[in-house]
Point group: C2
Chain length 449, copies 2
């Protein structure tokens, strides 16, 4: 592993992470005389903006994931390794991977991404909430939500059924808004014909947001529109609502318990743990502060990009948000700076070109903005724009036709494409959801704070 198969004279570039940032960097180096190794813990690149559709049984994982090595198959200067990077030695210039072997580099681009953040309160918040950052987490949510419906169909007790059919989404950012809208759609659709004992009126979707508005990255007028559209869909939005505790029984706000079998957490992300291996002080969200050229202090050959980087634009105060376009643009920029370094030229500062943002709300509603908020769309028009942009970006995927058809079908026929409960012994999960262990009942109610 320590010697690449290509000629050692070519500069070795290691890229950690095959997300939007890492892939963009690798592709930007396609025609260059470098030897690239891309390391990722998954074998697939994930079209993360649509992950909530997998969680909501609208798409299959394969519709939004493609093997990284397939994406890069025609780029002979890259080799892709499925590996977990467990350490970095920036002085000796190598990464240590899971089997203990070294992967050496002259240049390093770290694009390891973000993970769900419970702000140090894993015990109170994390243990019974579901995050949404990976395919497996999305499948977990799908399993839980579908099992809750199954358990509700079996339940004889009215209170139990109500709890099973209450779904709480915490966090009013784009992911939370999209999930809540899709959950409401799913409940209405699924409940319409398929069940016998469940009354459609019983399903509740709650969206809880700590701040006084939704969608912090968006124009405030769009946030209000999003709120209206969610309410039209029947989502109960509670702003200014900080959750104190999540238990098997539900969500505690102050001492008030909202019984719910399914709680999904989208209220925060933080940098991947690999940030800690970079000998730089991280910010409060575990992100790595980077210099204007995206390198880190003291190591002009080491770049950090995407969700893991804390990049504050010149003259700005807030760091750039963790969005796919930011990561992709930074990936291309880091690649360019690697090349400049190789050619002994000074690196250049990164400038983000904001192309806009969008969030979908259920089957035919969305909000979208472009040109720094000067162009704003809502409703069906925004949804069509959203659809177009997402299909367009899936163009690199083999399965855009399949995705289109799945959507088409699921929007037209009001059905869901991938309503599949996988994993061992789903009936036990259904049972557990219906009747959480009695011990936790007492604890939870007795210790709200």
């Amino acid at each position: 592993m320590s010697e690449p198969s290509t000629a050692p004279a070519r500069p070795r570039v290691v890229i950690i992470g095959g997300g939007f940032g890492g892939l963009a960097a690798a592709r930007a180096l396609a025609d260059e005389d470098v030897s690239i190794t891309l390391l990722d813990r998954a074998n697939h690149h994930l079209f993360q903006p649509l992950l909530y559709q997998v969680a909501m049984a609208g798409l299959s994982p394969a519709d939004i994931a493609v093997p990284i090595r397939t994406v890069l198959r025609h780029q002979p200067n890259v080799r892709v390794l499925l590996a977990d990077v467990q350490g970095l030695d920036l002085i000796a210039r190598h990464a240590v991977i899971d089997d203990g072997s070294y992967v050496e580099f002259e240049y390093l681009i770290v694009a390891a991404g973000a993970k769900t953040n419970f702000f140090g309160r894993e015990d109170a918040l994390g243990r019974h909430a579901l995050g949404l950052k990976t395919v497996d987490e999305a499948l977990d949510i799908r399993r839980r939500v579908l099992c809750a419906f199954e358990a509700a169909e079996r339940a004889n007790d009215e209170a139990v059924r109500r709890r099973l059919l209450t779904f709480v989404v915490i966090g009013g950012g784009a992911t939370g808004v999209e999930l809540a809208g899709a959950l409401s759609d799913l409940s209405r659709t699924v409940l319409s014909d398929d069940f016998r004992a469940i009354d459609p009126g019983e399903a509740r979707v709650l969206l809880l947001e700590r701040a006084e508005r939704l969608l912090p990255g968006f124009d405030p007028r769009l946030a209000v529109k999003a709120l209206e559209q969610l309410r039209e869909l029947g989502v109960q939005v509670q702003l200014g609502s900080a959750v104190d505790r999540i238990t098997e029984r539900g969500v505690l706000i102050g001492s008030e318990l909202t019984p719910a079998a399914t709680v999904i957490w989208t209220a925060g992300v933080c940098g991947n743990e690999l940030g800690g291996a970079l000998s730089v002080e991280l910010d409060g969200s575990g992100r790595v502060p980077v210099r204007p050229d995206l390198s880190i202090a003291g190591f002009p050959n080491v770049f950090v990009i995407g969700d893991l980087a804390r990049f504050v634009p010149e003259g700005g105060t807030a760091p750039l948000p963790g969005l796919a376009p930011v990561a992709a643009q930074q990936g291309r920029h880091a690649a360019k700076n690697v090349l400049r370094r190789i050619r002994d030229r000074p690196s250049e500062s990164f400038r983000y070109v904001d192309k806009g943002a969008m969030a979908t709300i259920g089957r035919s509603r969305a909000v979208a903005q472009a040109l720094g908020g000067r162009l704003r769309l809502t409703g069906l028009l925004a949804w069509l724009a959203w659809l177009f942009v997402h299909i367009w970006f899936l163009i690199d995927f083999r399965n855009r036709v399949s995705v289109l058809l799945n959507w088409f079908w699921s929007y037209i026929a009001y059905r869901r494409g991938a309503r599949l409960i996988t994993g061992d012994r789903p009936w036990e999960l259904a049972e557990k959801l219906a009747a959480p262990p009695p011990s936790s009942r007492t604890t939870d109610v007795a210790a709200p704070k």
Copy 2:
């Protein structure tokens, strides 16, 4: 759970299993004045004949699975429950499900299916072999096979790489033949562009069969054709080859070890454990002997159908094979006999109408027979017939268009649709596949018999 929501005067029919048999029975009772409860451990009906395509990353699980309650949504006299049947009381006439509650019946149709059978040698054969009966098992195989390629790309040692790229399929029935053909296709396709360190010539697919021929249910001439076609695809078929032991290191035949990281077992199935609850003596494969009308001895109101039933046709000696058409025909027949019993008429004997059998071999080859073997097809023509029949039967599924497109794409573009490694920490699996624990090495080699 003990009282159905419908009027108790209507005869209650409980169907266990939502496979081809159970669904056919439920549908045959659609317009009848009965109250049906269908119990299944999964929430989905599975199009099992295509399960090997999921294992080989050609299709997503959702392409071949559909929620049982969606299939039956327009049939108001059925309710579907996700439940594990843990006991049956045929005298008191109820099933006991996982939460301890009873589901009562006047008529019972047991269609619980089959599971992988290691003939009582789980220790020697079952522990390191992968079965293929459920979606989760298919995903397991997919994960293992794709991880073996990933581990091979990382491996420095020639012998390790050879072992990782050796895939053994045990059992030369339809499933084994189809798997081996698809594996060979997958290896050739995957290896072509995507990897850097693997030499395509290294991948080996072995198909081991204990008997002296393949495809026992087929005309012998077709079995020979299948053998030829598999060999054209590069599959190494060994007939008359009985495996003595399967370990983490490979397969032992006598004392000869064939090193292989992936061993798939399709050499036998036996009846689901529920057969044991029917107070009837089971046959050697755990199947329930049924009478000509499909009911069991002593209980004219209890019917067993499909893979779980041992039905010997009148004048025949061999029981009917475990095939989807057998189960579906038996399902409809059992439903008809339930109705005859309700109306105090004598039940009728079941007669199987053999519509033929087919098995696909890789991308464009197959064997097919109809009219009791008088009509035989091989090669591309058989493959097209196979494609047509399978798409046709998927017509009940919402996703036939999506499946068609996936296939079309994967056959035309020589790519694979769902090459996704899911599950936690795939790099650890890759590592384990590359280096099985040293303790088992000694044991395995020292104790071949």
